[in-house]
């Protein structure tokens, strides 16, 4: 067996790496007949931060459920690192950061319990944490800056701290693919900056992140790519060319509040017309070319700990 695996390594060139997430022609219909997603297609390579935007009911959570394997597509396929979802989840390849409103904050678990849950896939059948599991959990807590809160019950935390705990769980899991469901909802600006800085660091380590958000204004700041959906994928690609007024208009239609600001109202504005698009949260401001501002790195506090720093 072993020897046959080792034969002719030189003859076969390694196959090109599979996309981290490959969604192909996915249609999801619920048992009541509602088609939540039709023929959705996009793919993401490793080391990418991708925004997922669309109105409520556009299929964002259905898409997440399909990637997590909670719903089975009626047509099409989802592959993770080239594998079917079931096989990928058995290896704990995908971490999931839930929406705050989906979490039972009164559940009797501490911050430390939650972060250790990230290690369960790697533990033995009795789920007794090894030293290495505890070290990874402690490092994850350090990285998100809530190490001092480890013995608190999770309901005793502020909105921003709660988000950080679940990010720490994803870090502890050491998954290369992370799904984040509305990570900026209900957090202060400082936490938002800290989350974005953390996502940047993880991207640099080769992680792929799919981030659903209503915070349109932040998307050009932290997303390399964007997937715009409205019951199907309306547009997918690099933020600079995809996150445009025209594409957003296709997905959001009348749901977006769109304010036009004439330049005479804005002293010193050079463009003739500004478009302000908002989907409940941070607004997106577009110039008259209808393109997003170029990706910038605003003055962010330096990372508190170098990524992957050991104890």
């Amino acid at each position: 067996m072993a020897s046959s695996l080792r034969t002719n390594p030189a003859n076969t060139p390694p196959p090109p790496p599979s996309p981290a997430i490959d969604v192909r022609g996915v249609t999801v219909a619920y048992t009541n007949g509602h088609v939540a997603l039709r023929d959705a297609t996009f793919s993401l390579d490793g080391g990418t931060i991708c925004g997922l935007v669309g109105v409520n009911g556009s299929g964002k959570s259905t898409l997440f459920k399909a990637i997590m394997g909670f719903v089975k597509p009626a047509a099409g396929s989802v592959r993770i690192n080239g594998q079917p979802v079931g096989a990928a989840h058995k290896k704990a390849s995908v971490a999931y950061v839930p929406q705050s409103e989906d979490v039972d904050w009164a559940f009797p678990v501490s911050v430390w319990d939650v972060v250790l849950m990230g290690r369960y896939g790697a533990m033995n059948l009795l789920r007794i944490p090894r030293q290495s599991d505890k070290r990874l959990a402690a490092e994850a807590l350090e990285q998100v800056g809530v190490a001092d809160l480890r013995s608190r019950q999770i309901g005793e935390l502020s909105g921003g701290q709660r988000k950080r705990v679940f990010l720490a769980r994803a870090l502890a899991q050491q998954a290369k693919i992370i799904l984040l469901d509305e990570p900026f909802t209900g957090v202060d600006v400082q936490t938002e900056e800290a989350i974005i800085a953390l996502l940047d660091r993880m991207r640099d380590q080769g992680c792929t992140m799919l981030v659903s958000t209503h915070n349109l204004g932040s998307v050009p700041r932290f997303c390399d790519r964007v997937v715009i959906i409205n019951r199907t994928v309306v547009a997918a690609g690099p933020t600079a060319t995809t996150f445009t007024r025209d594409n957003l208009a296709l997905a959001f239609g009348g749901a977006l509040r769109r304010l036009r600001v004439d330049h005479t109202d804005v002293p010193g504005a050079t463009s003739h017309e500004l478009t302000v698009l908002t989907d409940d949260e941070g607004a997106l401001i577009l110039g008259d070319d209808g393109l997003p501002p170029p990706r910038t790195t605003p003055d962010r506090p330096a990372p508190t700990a170098p990524p992957g720093a050991g104890a």
Binding site: H89, F107, D113, Q173
Partner: protein, 293 residues
């Protein structure tokens, strides 16, 4: 005086009753933590009623009662899941319809084909009259349930807390869901003898609810619930000897009593603490508004 207090412990049937009650109390209490956190109280009530037709058929067919009861409970759970997934009805409506139907069927079967069990035993329990064969069945069910929980409780906690994460770290969520449902049905079957179909749900909810008021850690919650469940079941069975009253009634009233006291005085989540903090907040508020005015 002491002789009088020890008297129940000298009769074999009382010792058996107390011992079996304690074991059932322990098993139900362990499971009650999961039932409370999953929001499955109604499901526990439903399953404990849905086992009745199975008991009737098992006795008529001279099969172990647990077998029939368990099959009947799982069938009811299956029907509930089937109807819920395929209609727009809310879950509580589906559960309400299915379990009353099963219970009605059981009542009908027992009245049509009277055997050596009577309706009163199933509905209200009769631990004092428990047959040795039935004790063996209770022992097996409890041992298996407790063993499964000892091995799988951490997986079940993750499944309850965050099913998406459970899936993400490779846990079989569908299996865990089915496992919890199976344990619930099995425990409902075991408790039938002690407190009867009507009161099983109390043993499957109250100890967990009591413990949840006292702690913010799942492990501690399990320990508190199991202690409360075991003690109240044993003491309730013992007290029923002196009261010459229903054992199931004694156990459940005792459990509710412990719950009520806990609800009042629990250090963090009790009513008195909540009232105090409201009073403190109330004292602070007028000072603030007074300052603003």
């Amino acid at each position: 005086m002491i002789d009088a207090l020890l008297q129940p412990l000298q009769s074999e049937f009382m010792l058996k009753a107390i011992g079996v009650s304690a074991l059932i109390g322990l098993t139900c209490a362990a499971l009650s933590c999961f039932v409370t956190l999953k929001g499955w109280s109604l499901m526990g009530d439903a399953l404990s009623h849905a086992v009745v037709p199975g008991v009737a058929i098992a006795y008529a067919a001279k099969l172990p009662f647990a077998l029939g009861a368990f099959a009947s409970g799982m069938l009811a759970a299956g029907v509930m899941g089937f109807v819920k997934d395929r209609t727009r009805l809310r879950e509580d409506a589906v559960i309400g319809i299915v379990f009353t139907t099963f219970f009605a069927l059981g009542v009908l079967l027992i009245s049509l084909y009277p055997s050596n069990i009577n309706l009163k035993t199933i509905v209200f329990g009769n631990i004092l009259g428990i047959a040795d064969a039935d004790i063996v069945q209770v022992l097996i069910i409890s041992a298996v349930t407790l063993a499964v929980l000892a091995f799988k409780w951490k997986d079940l906690v993750i499944f309850l807390f965050d099913p998406s994460h459970a899936r993400a770290v490779g846990l079989p969520t569908r299996f865990l869901h089915a496992l919890l449902l199976t344990l619930l049905a099995a425990t409902a079957v075991a408790s039938l003898q002690a407190v009867g179909a009507c009161l099983v749900v109390a043993m499957l909810v109250t100890p967990g609810a009591t413990a949840y008021l006292l702690t913010d850690r799942f492990g501690a919650m399990m320990l508190i619930a199991m202690t409360v469940g075991t003690l109240t079941a044993a003491v309730g069975a013992y007290a029923s000897y002196f009261l010459n009253g229903s054992t199931g009634g004694c156990i459940v009233v005792l459990q509710t009593g412990v719950f009520a006291v806990t609800l009042a005085v629990a250090p963090k989540h009790g009513l008195i603490t909540a009232h105090r903090s409201r009073v403190v907040a109330g004292r602070a508020a007028p000072a603030l508004s007074g300052g603003a005015a």
